[in-house]
C-alpha cells in the first residue's frame, strides 16, 4: 500500500516537473515561435527608430538613490542628455544620506530646471516610500522609474512615447539588460534570465493581460498612478505589485524591447548580494500573491497564470533541487522500469533548455558584445545545478523571513562594473 502511494506520488512529481520545464521552455521561446512574430517585432523596431520626436508627452523620471555616490553622477549626466524636450529628472535621496545628496545637488546645479532633488524624510527607508515621496512633485504626464546605476539610452523616451501613443496603453515596460556575463560564475545565467524575460516572456504576459512590471525603465501614466494610490509602501517588490494592480484593474501594458535602446545594468557583484536580491524579490512576490489583487482578473486562465507567475521563483527553485534528487534515487534505488522512465521525463526539456540557453548566449554576444568564449559556455553549463541550489536557498530564506515578519529592505550595492565596460567601449 505504502509502495503504491509512493509510486503514484513519485510519478506525479515527475509529471509536474516535466510540465513545468516544458512550459518554461515554451514561454522562453515565445518571441521566436514563428516567423510572423519575428517579422512584426523587427518592423516595429524599424518604425520606432525612424519615428520623429514630436514631444507630445512629457515625462517625469524618478531616480531613487541611496548610498549610490559612485555611480549616480554618471547616470544623471546621461539622463540629462536624452533626446526628448519635455522631461524632468527627480532624484530622491534620504535625509540621512549626505554623500548621495551632495552628488544629486551638484547635478541639479549643473542642469537647473531639468534635474531636481527631493528628500525622503520617512523613518523607514525603502524604494516605494521614496517613490511615493516624489510622486506629488511630478509634473509630467508619464512617470518613469530608473535605478541609480542604469545606463539609459538617449533614444529611449521617443520610443516609449511612440508606443504610448500607438497602443494607447496605461503603462510601458521597456527593456532592461544585464551586460556583464563574464564577471562571475552566475553572471551568465543572470544575464540570460533577463534576456529571456524582457525579450520573450514579457510579451507573452502582456498578451495574456497579466504582467508583473520591473522596477526599472517602467513608465506609467501619472493620473492612473495617483488613482491607484501610488506604490505599496510595505511591499518588497513594489514594481511587481504595481504591475499586478494595473493588470487587475484592466489597464493594458505595452512592452518595448529593442536591443539598441535597452537600459543597461549590472549583475549583483557578490553572491551574498545576489542572494539578498533574490530573497527580496521572492518575498515581494509572496506578499503580492497574498494581497490577492489578482482576484480581480476576469478570466480563470489569467488568474491561473497570475498564481503561476507569482509562485514561479519557488516552483523553479524546488524543481531545480528535485530533479537531481530524483536522478539520484533512480541511480541508487531499484524501482519499476515504468516509474524510472517517468522520472527521466523532466530531463528532456531541461536539456533542451540548456541547449537553447547556449544559443541565446551566442545571440546575446552578437547583439551586445563581446562574443562569449568557450569558458563562458562551460561556466553556463556547469553552473546550472549550483545556481538552482542558490535559488532554492533564496526561496527558502524568503519564506522564513516572511514567516518571521522581517520585511526590511536589504539593499544591493552597486559598483559600476558595467560602467567601466561602457567607458572602454566608448
Amino acid at each position: 500500500m505504502a509502495n503504491v502511494v509512493l509510486s503514484v506520488g513519485y510519478c506525479l512529481v515527475a509529471v509536474l516537473l516535466f510540465v513545468l520545464a516544458t512550459l518554461t521552455l515554451t514561454w522562453m521561446l515565445y518571441s521566436w515561435r514563428e516567423q510572423g512574430t519575428i517579422d512584426a517585432e523587427l518592423s516595429q523596431r524599424r518604425v520606432m527608430r525612424s519615428g520623429a520626436s514630436t514631444d507630445q508627452i512629457s515625462f517625469s523620471l524618478l531616480v531613487p538613490a541611496r548610498h549610490e555616490e559612485h555611480v549616480l553622477a554618471t547616470t544623471l549626466e546621461r539622463m540629462a542628455a536624452l533626446h526628448h524636450r519635455r522631461y524632468e529628472v527627480i532624484v530622491i535621496v534620504g535625509h540621512d544620506d549626505p554623500q548621495t545628496a551632495a552628488v544629486a545637488e551638484a547635478a541639479a546645479a549643473r542642469h537647473p530646471g531639468l534635474v531636481r532633488v527631493v528628500v525622503d524624510y520617512n523613518a523607514v527607508k525603502n524604494k516605494p516610500r521614496a517613490l511615493n515621496a516624489a510622486l506629488p512633485y511630478c509634473r509630467g504626464d508619464v512617470v518613469g522609474v530608473f535605478d541609480a546605476e542604469d545606463i539609459v539610452h538617449p533614444d529611449l523616451l521617443p520610443a516609449v512615447q511612440q508606443r504610448l501613443l500607438e497602443d494607447r496603453s496605461a503603462a510601458v515596460q521597456a527593456g532592461v539588460q544585464l551586460m556583464n556575463f563574464w564577471s562571475s560564475w552566475y553572471a551568465a545565467r543572470n544575464v540570460l534570465e533577463y534576456y529571456f524575460w524582457f525579450r520573450s516572456r514579457l510579451h507573452f504576459q502582456a498578451a495574456c493581460g497579466f504582467i508583473p512590471l520591473g522596477g526599472n525603465t517602467v513608465f506609467v501614466r501619472r493620473v492612473l498612478l495617483e488613482l491607484l494610490g501610488g506604490w505599496d509602501a510595505d511591499c518588497l517588490a513594489e514594481d511587481c505589485d504595481l504591475g499586478v494592480r494595473l493588470s487587475s484593474h484592466g489597464f493594458t501594458t505595452s512592452v518595448v524591447y529593442d536591443p539598441a535602446i535597452v537600459t543597461r545594468e549590472e549583475t549583483p557583484a557578490t553572491l551574498p548580494a545576489f542572494i539578498r536580491q533574490r530573497t527580496r524579490w521572492n518575498q515581494g512576490f509572496l506578499q503580492v500573491l497574498f494581497k490577492r489583487d489578482w482576484h480581480l482578473l476576469p478570466r480563470r486562465r489569467q488568474r491561473l497564470l497570475a498564481v503561476f507567475t507569482l509562485c514561479t521563483p519557488f516552483l523553479q527553485a524546488f524543481a531545480g533541487v528535485l530533479l537531481p534528487v530524483s536522478l539520484f534515487t533512480i541511480a541508487c534505488v531499484s524501482m519499476p522500469v515504468g516509474l524510472a522512465l517517468a522520472a527521466y521525463l523532466p530531463i528532456l526539456p531541461a536539456v533542451l533548455t540548456l541547449a537553447v540557453e547556449h544559443l541565446a548566449l551566442m545571440e546575446f554576444g552578437r547583439l551586445f558584445g563581446p562574443r562569449p568564449t568557450i569558458r563562458d559556455h562551460l561556466r553556463l553549463a556547469v553552473s546550472t545545478p549550483v545556481f538552482q541550489a542558490v535559488l532554492a536557498y533564496a526561496a527558502m530564506r524568503a519564506v522564513v523571513r516572511l514567516a518571521r515578519g522581517h520585511t526590511g529592505w536589504e539593499k544591493t550595492t552597486h559598483l559600476g562594473l558595467h560602467l567601466e565596460q561602457q567607458e572602454v567601449a566608448v
Binding site: 521566436w32 496603453s169 501614466r221 488613482l227 509602501a233 510595505d234 511591499c235 480581480l296 524510472a340 536539456v351
Partner: protein, 542 residues
C-alpha cells in the same frame, strides 16, 4: 503607512469598469483603449470546435475537392475484403500477439522480449485494440489489426497530400501522388498487413510534412522531431529517413528562429529515440552478458548476422526473386520514379531530398545483403510522391493560357494517361477484393478447436497461436514453434523435448524454416499426418 486604496472604486471593482476616468481625467479616456470585453454568452467548447472545423474545411476547400475522391477510393480499395486477402503473414501474428500480451498481461511480448524491434508499434496496436476494436467478442485480433491498418493508410494518404503540397507540388499532382500510392498493386499487397512498417509510415510522412512548416513555427519543428523519433521507436530501420528529413529541414528552415528550430528538432528526435536504449539500460539489458537478452546484441544481430539474400544480378537469389516480384506487380511506378530522379533534381529544389531518398532505397538491395520482405512498404510512397512531383514540372517562363488549345490537348492526354494507368492497376487489384486467402487458416483453426484439448501441447505458427490463445488455450501448451528450440524458458517448461509435443500444425513458414530447428523437425518426422488444409498440415506426434 500601508498602501492607500484606489480612490473612487469600491473594493472588488476594476477601475476600468467604473466611470472614474471619465470624471477625473476625461482627456485620457479617449486615449485609453476600451477594456477587454468578455465574450457573452460564453462560447462553449463544442461550438468553438465546430467553428474551427468549419473554418478548416472552408480554408482548404480547393484541396479537399481533389483529396476527398481519392480518399474514398482508398477506403474502398483497402477496406473491401481486407480481412481475407492477402493471406496471413507470420509477422502479423507476432505483432498482434505482442499487442495482446501488453493488453492482457502488461508484458512487452508473449515470450521474452529480446529487443528485435522497439515496442512502440505493438503498443499503439494495443491502444487501438483497447479503444477502437469494433469486432464482436471472440473475433480474431488479426482482423482488428487489419482494421487498424486501414485507418493507418487513410491517415498516410492525408499526410502524403499535405507533404506534397508543402513541397510546392500542385494540387492535381498531390492528388496523383496519393492515387498512385493507393492503387499500386505492390502497395496493396503489403499495406493491408499488420506490419510495423505500415504503422510507421504515417508517423514518417507527417513528421516530414511538419518539418516543412510554412510559417516556421517552432512547435511544428518540435512536433516533427517527436514524430520522426516515434517512427524510429516503431521500427529502428526508419532511422534511415532521418537523413533526407534533416537535409530538407536544413535547407527549408530559413526563418530567423533557425537555430532554435534545428536544436528543437534534434533534441526531440534524440529524446524520443533515446528512450529505447534508456529502457534497456534501466532493465540492465543494454550490454550483452550472461543470462539475459541485450539490446546491443539484437542490433548487432540485425545488422550483421542475418543471412544475405544474395546479389540481384544472380538469377534465383532471394533479392533477384523479390525484385522481379516487385517489378511484376508495379514496375511502372518504380521506373517512373527512377526516371523522375534526374528531372526533379534539376528543376525542383524542394523535392531533392526525396529524390535522394528514392535513390538510396533503390540502391540498397544492390548491396546483396539481407533484404527484408516488407521492403516495398517504405519504397512505394516515396516513389509515388516522386513520380507525381516529376509529373508536375513547371515551365515557369512559358505561361500557358487556358484559352490555347495546346493546354487542353495536354490536359486531355495527361488525364487519359492517368486513367489508363489507374485502370490497369485497378484491374490487377481486383484479386485482393474478391479472393479469400485465409480460408485454410480458418478451417485449420475450427478443426483444432473441435479435435484438440487445451491440455494438448502443440507447436503452431504465430497466426494460429493468437487464434487459439484467444479461444482460451493456455500459453504453456500452445507454443510458437521457434521458441521451442530457441527460448530457454519454454524448454524449461517441457524438458522432454519433442517427445512432449502432441500436435504440430505445419504451415508454409514452418516448413520453410524447420530444417534449422532440430526439435521441431524431429517432431514433424515422428508425426502422423491427420489433417490437411491446403498448405497447412496437422501432425499427431506419437
Amino acid at each position: 503607512m500601508t498602501e492607500a486604496p484606489p480612490r473612487h472604486a469600491a473594493p472588488g471593482t476594476r477601475l476600468v469598469d467604473t466611470d472614474v476616468l471619465e470624471r477625473l481625467a476625461p482627456e485620457l479616456v479617449a486615449s485609453l483603449p476600451p477594456a477587454r470585453r468578455e465574450l457573452s454568452p460564453p462560447v462553449t467548447l463544442s461550438v468553438r470546435a465546430r467553428l474551427a472545423l468549419t473554418e478548416v474545411f472552408f480554408r482548404h476547400r480547393a484541396s479537399l475537392v481533389w483529396l476527398v475522391p481519392v480518399l474514398v477510393l482508398a477506403a474502398v480499395l483497402h477496406g473491401w475484403n481486407m480481412h481475407h486477402s492477402p493471406g496471413p503473414n507470420d509477422d502479423e501474428g507476432t505483432y498482434v500477439s505482442q499487442a495482446w500480451a501488453f493488453q492482457e498481461h502488461g508484458e512487452l511480448s508473449h515470450y521474452t522480449y529480446w529487443y528485435d524491434h522497439p515496442p512502440l508499434g505493438w503498443l499503439l496496436l494495443a491502444a487501438w485494440n483497447t479503444v477502437f476494436a469494433v469486432l464482436p467478442r471472440g473475433a480474431s485480433l488479426l482482423y482488428a489489426g487489419r482494421d487498424a491498418m486501414l485507418v493507418v493508410h487513410l491517415v498516410s494518404c492525408v499526410a502524403m497530400f499535405t507533404l506534397a503540397r508543402r513541397m510546392h507540388v500542385r494540387r492535381w499532382a498531390a492528388a496523383l501522388a496519393v492515387l498512385l500510392f493507393t492503387v499500386s498493386p505492390l502497395g496493396l499487397e503489403w499495406q493491408r498487413l499488420t506490419l510495423l512498417d505500415n504503422i510507421g509510415t504515417p508517423l514518417l510522412i507527417s513528421g516530414w510534412a511538419l518539418a516543412l512548416t510554412p510559417r516556421c513555427r517552432l512547435v511544428a519543428y518540435a512536433g516533427s522531431g517527436l514524430l520522426i523519433g516515434s517512427s524510429i521507436l516503431v521500427k529502428e530501420t526508419n532511422a534511415l529517413f532521418l537523413a533526407p528529413v534533416t537535409l530538407q529541414l536544413w535547407f527549408a528552415a530559413r526563418g530567423r528562429n533557425r537555430s532554435y528550430a534545428l536544436v528543437l528538432f534534434a533534441g526531440a528526435v534524440l529524446s524520443v529515440s533515446g528512450l529505447y536504449p534508456l529502457f534497456a539500460a534501466l532493465k540492465n539489458e543494454l550490454i550483452p552478458g550472461p543470462g539475459h537478452v541485450s539490446l546491443l546484441w539484437a542490433i548487432q544481430w540485425q545488422l550483421f548476422s542475418r543471412a544475405p539474400s544474395g546479389s540481384p544480378f544472380q538469377p534465383g537469389s532471394g533479392t533477384r526473386l523479390a525484385i522481379e516480384d516487385w517489378l511484376n506487380r508495379d514496375g511502372l511506378l518504380l521506373l517512373t520514379a527512377l526516371v523522375s530522379v534526374p528531372l526533379v533534381a534539376w528543376r525542383r529544389p524542394r523535392l531533392r531530398p526525396l529524390a535522394l531518398l528514392v535513390l538510396i532505397l533503390m540502391a540498397m538491395p544492390l548491396r546483396g545483403g539481407y533484404l527484408p520482405a516488407p521492403y516495398p512498404i517504405n519504397l512505394v510512397w516515396p516513389c509515388a510522391l516522386l513520380a507525381a512531383g516529376g509529373a508536375d514540372l513547371r515551365r515557369s517562363h512559358v505561361r500557358r493560357s487556358r484559352r490555347q488549345p495546346a493546354h487542353w490537348i495536354i490536359t486531355a492526354t495527361a488525364a487519359t494517361l492517368v486513367t489508363a494507368v489507374t485502370g490497369h492497376a485497378l484491374i490487377r487489384d481486383r484479386a485482393y477484393l474478391v479472393s479469400d486467402q485465409d480460408r485454410e487458416y480458418r478451417q485449420a483453426q475450427s478443426w483444432l478447436l473441435a479435435h484438440t484439448k487445451p491440455s494438448d501441447v502443440m507447436l503452431v505458427d504465430n497466426t494460429i497461436w493468437i487464434d487459439l490463445i484467444q479461444q482460451g488455450y493456455p500459453r504453456q501448451n500452445v507454443i510458437w514453434f521457434y521458441k521451442f528450440d530457441l527460448d530457454p524458458a519454454v524448454q524449461a517448461l517441457h524438458p522432454g523435448g519433442w517427445r512432449a509435443i502432441d500436435y504440430v500444425v505445419e504451415s508454409s513458414i514452418m516448413g520453410a524454416t524447420a530444417y534449422t530447428l532440430p526439435e521441431t523437425s524431429a517432431a514433424i518426422e515422428h508425426g502422423k499426418l491427420i489433417a490437411e488444409f491446403g498448405d497447412i498440415h496437422v501432425y499427431r506426434v506419437v
